[in-house]
Symmetry: C2
Subunit: 135 residues, 2 copies
Amino acid sequence: MKTDGRPRDAPDLDAAPDGTGALDEIFGALSDPTRRAIIARLTDGPCSVGELGAPFAMSAPAISKHLAVLERAGLIARWKTGRVHHCRLLADPLAHAGAWIEQHQAFWENQLDALEDYLDREEETCNQPPPKQQD
Amino acid sequence: MKTDGRPRDAPDLDAAPDGTGALDEIFGALSDPTRRAIIARLTDGPCSVGELGAPFAMSAPAISKHLAVLERAGLIARWKTGRVHHCRLLADPLAHAGAWIEQHQAFWENQLDALEDYLDREEETCNQPPPKQQD
């Protein structure tokens, strides 16, 4: 079986036992607008590195550096067919980062639930005087 | 109305027209394990800066720097009651980052749909010989 055209394996997300190192790399990679734009382009499907870099007012080595950051974070895979380098997006690291955010977004609901519990308890234990009527 | 104990306003997510600058700050803030641990702690509710920094083997100024990064990204609000500084988590920036990831995660489904369409078209246009019967 030929290996031409097959992407290289992406870094293992479990390299750090709790995925901490991976999240550092993933969120770090996402903190740059050029790298986010590259990801956005790759959501249309794989493409050559030349085609990928064309819309950016940036040198080929500068684009290559951004691709290296994305590759290190496991967000993309790069491979070579003949003399042409290609890229494609990998799903797992985005899912990993999304799961972390989703888990911590739940805090909002938790805090609202806690407030509701608190108010329920207050209602049970307090005998407040009725509010003054405004005439 | 007293303003003691009220958090300062968080930075406006729309400061950059497309939220690009905000996403740089948010993802950058999330790329550090200490800052993610601070966020995780704040999902239990607001607390004092002293209490927040206690579990970390880190100087108060180092913690303060991390809090400044989180505050600049709009992820937390800090305020002072008497001589005690407090922090709480803000929901919008996490939601903003989560929405970006979710939108780009959809690429996976898009690519599967595109593949399905392609296979459907192939099936319609090709007249393949029927598969050999195995007796």
